[in-house]
Each structure stands twice: as structure tokens, then as C-alpha cells.
Symmetry: C2
Subunit: 428 residues, 2 copies
Amino acid sequence: MKAYSQMSKEELLALKSDLEKAYDDFKARGLKLDMSRGKPSSEQMDLSMGMMDVFHSRADLTAADGLDCRNYGNLDGLPEAKELMASMMECRAEDIIVYGNSSLNVMYDTVARSMTHGVMGNTPWCKLDKVKFLCPVPGYDRHFAITEYFGIEMINVPMTPEGPDMDIVEKLVSEDEAIKGIWCVPKYSNPQGISYSDETIRRFARLKPAAKDFRLYWDNAYCIHHLYPDKQDTILEILDECRKAGNPDLAYKFVSTSKVSFPGSGVAALGASQANLEDIKKQLSIQTIGHDKLNQLRHVRFFKNIDGMREHMMKHAAIIRPKFELVLDKLDKELGGLGIGEWLRPIGGYFISFDSLEGCAKAIVAKAKEAGVIMTGAGATFPYGKDPKDSNIRIAPTYPSMDELGLAADLFILCVKLVSIDKLLENM
Amino acid sequence: MKAYSQMSKEELLALKSDLEKAYDDFKARGLKLDMSRGKPSSEQMDLSMGMMDVFHSRADLTAADGLDCRNYGNLDGLPEAKELMASMMECRAEDIIVYGNSSLNVMYDTVARSMTHGVMGNTPWCKLDKVKFLCPVPGYDRHFAITEYFGIEMINVPMTPEGPDMDIVEKLVSEDEAIKGIWCVPKYSNPQGISYSDETIRRFARLKPAAKDFRLYWDNAYCIHHLYPDKQDTILEILDECRKAGNPDLAYKFVSTSKVSFPGSGVAALGASQANLEDIKKQLSIQTIGHDKLNQLRHVRFFKNIDGMREHMMKHAAIIRPKFELVLDKLDKELGGLGIGEWLRPIGGYFISFDSLEGCAKAIVAKAKEAGVIMTGAGATFPYGKDPKDSNIRIAPTYPSMDELGLAADLFILCVKLVSIDKLLENM
């Protein structure tokens, strides 16, 4: 393939004319496809329907510790739910709290509590002039929405193939006491699918923050969300690394079963040091009498243990792997060598991250929308929705059917080509 | 019966000696009974076990609006869940948000949001020097715990048989801009079982608060929690009364099915004006992707509608009514006319409120504990756990079996008598 940058104006114009015809054909089909969110497909939901059979009206709903799960009682998770979630999190059952249905809500509450009550005895953030968070970019829009909502200043930190640029992280965190946290998706990151290297994680664990209440907001959203049975990333366990580095209180670790069982009806959990957990439970005991124990028990009885969960995740993988490969193969085939876009080939997670030529992302997403395909808004992967290069686009391939996805990918590729040609022509 | 205050020192001492023998007999039995919380009994839990059968692995889990409840989507409640919860709340489906498993959590979040973001554009409370709440007393300890946790100053307002003393409420609220809310349990109040009169509710709706962000925190926890099929309180609907009074934004209304279906695995909801709901949804959309829709659907399919819910509540009543009557009859029989305690005869809710002679409540609760019966801590029904008269004790009769409850009530009565005698002797 000839790189677009090597083409003459005439070649580009001729190509554009062909591509525009193809685009008009797409428009005429009146597509309505949504690739905007990392949403499992209906077929994936079916995998967990057995969970609806584990309880019945004569079932014994008593927990391992003898508690009647139908009644009040238990603030931080059933013993067996702690075991299951902790093994998913690769940490100890005593280091976690099991929550309700949403890890996002746990993260929100963690920031909200820090605002009003501070972290482990430190000044509540609402009493400070300035609070800042580091945001590896591209990243997860809902993380950035939380910190923006609380008026926290967000500072971009570029991602590398090894994780966030640790030279920058170390420098900023050690110098600026106003920096109180960093949003991390350490495994199969959203959107790039990058897993942090051992060196990156060790450098995180060894950070010497100026702020005593600085914490790693370690959203291990895709901890068991592999695409392949035989190609799987493993990463170092952050709580353990922090302990070893003499920084036991540095990390809050978040997970949920949203993309394991049912989004919105799963179970979330937080892992942290005992000192952090004690601090958090002070609030938790005021906020609620307890979370949904029946749903915790339902999950335990369905998955049984981490082996059951891993087996289940391979069923998810079998459904979504072909979708990732379909899109990635099309990108390779249609855009490879053209010099108008870059992407990684993830082996887990929920997204494909695409980087267009600078200044093209918004136009590509708009053009796809015009022909009926909704992508995640360009800029969404950056704080304040502002991608400085207007380049990153998050592709979410899991929800559409293979047929729809093929069409959507074809259209996306067409839009990338058309917008890139316009951009190149503009600069000629 | 002769009032204790009419007895001579000798009579009291003789009585005391008899009562002490009976008390020692109780102690020797090694009772272990918990009457501390308003907890349904295991038999009551059984009533809802049919809910475990409404879903199965081939069930259609699509909501009325076509949404697959197993997946992401829907922030403020399924249409059919809104219908059900709104009819329980006696308000319009469009005036509510359906939440997760805990109305306490919704109340906590409401206060937390007001601290960090303010109410409908007003100054966030964390930026104010002073924030105050009115607390009708006796009241619910978990309400007071929320406001205490946020450093909000709590001001006691006495309850009358008609509800909070509205002369005091009107005066304070109209004079002091720092007063931002009042905790209300308007029907079968916790702990007295008092339902607010029409006049009280109209006076609430017509309040002219100095603070624009003053709200009624209207916890309608026992809205359908009657004890009798034929004797039931009805109260005016607060959102409607506020609208009629030209104060549409004055109230937040909270309910849950915790004591209808399963505590901890029920569904909570908040009712308010459209302007309030919009304000709240700004936060909600940051805080979560959505609540547990499968549990909402499970509740709708089980109860079907408000008639199903009311019928279900009469099954609860059939179980707990004899328990209330057992305790109340014993109080009447054993303490009536003695002048050492007062109590009301509730027809709904979860509690019996007992007022001992001044300065006796702590000692009574301690004495009961010594003999193996845990009551709610004396003082718990007041802000900061401080009952100025040390007089109010909350009795929670629902959880123990009839046999246990009979024993516990006998012991409680013994403790009341013994402590009262000591108090009277002290003053002789």
C-alpha cells in the first residue's frame, strides 16, 4: 500500500471521489449501530442466565458464618463473597470490602469521602485551595467525569506501551502536594488494552508522594477479562507491591463483576490496607446498613470459586474474540501502511484504541455518526473531553453482532480515509 | 395499682426485695435476646421467598420499554419499577428516581451531595461556617448519625401526638438561614409510631424557610407498614401539599422495600419535584451507570402492583401484630397506673417507644443487658446519643419469637420497676 502522505494531490482527489461513493452507499443503507460503550452483547448475557436458577423459594440462604442473607446484617461482605472477590483480585479476603452493584459508585464515594472527610486523618479536600489528579491518557471517561465533578484539576500523563510515563508521574507526585491521586486501569487498560509492566508497577509502589493522602486509584476493571485462553497478561499485585515497598496505604484497588455476570446487577469490591479499610468503614457504617447479600450469595453459588469464574470468562472470550479480530484484521488490511492511523492489538479488555492523524478524530466520529454509526465521542478518552491532538478514538466492538460490526468497521475505515485525505489536502 | 410515688420507703424496699429475686432468676436463665434493631423475623422473610422463583434461566428479562435488564442502561429506574414504587409512595411515577438497595444510602448521598455541590445552585454546605438540622425527638438514630458525621449541628424539636412541634419548627426555620433540613418519619414514626396530622403536614408544606436550600427529609419508611387490616393511618402526600402551597421544591421523600421484601436486598426510591430531580440526576449520572435493574424487575414481577404489595404487608402484619400486642398488653397490665413509665399504642411501624421516669433509661437498658436482653442503647433516639431526660427507650418487638419476646418483655418490666424504685428511693 502506498502511504497517503506519499500521494499527489491528484491521486488523493481521485481516491476521495471513489471513497465518497462508497460512503454515500453506506448512508443510503440507513444504518443504526452503537459502538459507543463497552457493553457486553446479549449472547454474553445469556452465559450468566444459570444464575437465575441458583435460588428458589425453598433454598437455604444462609451464609458460611450462619447469617441469614435475607435479613439485615453484615457491612463489608459475606465471608464467601470476600473469598471469591479476593481471589478475583488476587489479594487476601481480609484486605477487601464487598460492595453493591457498581465499582464506579465505589470510586465516586472514595473521592466524595476524601472531599468531605479527608483520607486517614488528613485535611478534607474541600478545605484545600487546590486538589489535582494525574490522568494517564488516553483513559476512561467516567473516571475523569468523577474528578471533574468535584472540581479536581486533572493533569494528563501520557501512556507508554509499559503503562503511564513513570518519569513524569514520579516527578509530579514527589513535587506537588496538591496531587492526591492517579486514575489507573493497570490491566488491559481502557481504551488501549495495555497492561502495566512489572517495572511500572514497582515504580508505582515505590512512589514518594509529597501528599500523605496521595492514593493510586487502581481500577482493575479487566483483571480476568482475557480474549485468549493461551495468551494472557499477568501483572504484579499492587497491594502486595506497596506493602513490600513500605508504602502499605498507597493503593485503593477496585473491581466488579459487571462484565463477568450482569452489568448493573453484579458485585463490586474494594481492596486496600487495613488502615485504609478502617478509615473507609467509618463512613460505610453511616452510609448504609449493608449491601445486597443475596446478590453476593447468588454470585458465589453460581461461580463457586475463581476457577468457575475463569472458565466463565473463557466463554465470554469465545464470543468477543472474533469481534476484536474482525475489527483488527480489517484495520490491518485496509489501513496498514497508509500512515493515517495507529492502533494496538489487545489481548484482553473491552476496547480497541485508534489514533488518527492529528486533528481528525472529531471529524471521523462525526462522519461515522452521519452514516448511522455511533462511536464514543472523540475527546472522551481525555480529561475535560479535550484530546490535545484530536486523534484518539475508542472502538467498542463487543455489543454489535458480527454482521453489524463488519459494516461498522468498514464504515469507520472509510471515514478515517476520507477525513485523512481532507486533512492532507488542507496542508498541501 | 398503687403508683410507686405514693408508696412509702418501706413499701418500696419490700417490693424491691421481691423484684430482685425475680431478676436474679432471670439472670440465672442465661438469656440471650436481641431487641435492639427493627429487624423482621425469619418467618417474615419466608413471606417473600416466592420472589426467588419469579426468574429462571429461560426468563424474559426485558423491561416494559424494551430494555434488556441484564445489561447496562437506565439511570433512574425501570418504567414498571417507577410505577410500583410511586404507587407505594402515593406520588406520580415521573416524580421519583428508583435507586439501589438502601434508602439510608440515598439519604446519606443527599446530604453528601449538598455538602460538596449544594442544593439547586445554592452554596455547597462545606463552604458555610455552620449548617444545622432540626431533629424531631425521639427519632431515628441512623438519621442523626448521618448529620453528625457531616458535622451538621442538630437541634432537638419535641414530638407531639400530632408530629413535630410546628410552632418551634416554623420559628426556627424562618429565622435561621443555617438550618438546612429536618429529619421526618411522617407515618408510624420511629420510635413512637405517631403519624403526622393533616394540620402538621400542611404547616410543613407552607414553611417559609430563611434558607432557600432548606428541605424536608421525609423518610416515609413505614408508609404501608400497618399492623391492622381495619385500623390504618393515612397521611397527606407531602409532594402534593408542597406543590399546592407554592413550595414545590421543599421536600425529598424517601422509601424502600427493606421491610416489605428483604432488608438489604430491596429497592429504594426518592420522590421530589422535577427541579430537585434534575439537580440530583446531574450527580447520579457521575456516580453510577445505573442501579440493579434485575432486582427492580424481580420486585415488580413478584408484587405485580400496589394491591399485591398491600396484601403482602397484611401477611407481615399477621406475624408482627401479636408481638406488638404481647408487649403492649404486658406493659398495660404490669406498669399501668404505677406512674413509672409511659408508652403509646402504635397501629403501624416497627417500634414501641417507652418513656421511663427521668434519669432511668440508661440504667434500665444496662440492667436488661446484664440479664441477657439487648435493647437499643438508651439515648440512641436523640442526636449525639444524648437524651436530656435519660428517659426514652425504643422497644423493637418484631425479631424475637413470641416466647422469647414474652420473656424479654417480662425482664424489661422488671428492670423498669427496679430502676424506678432506686430512683424514687434516691429522692426520698
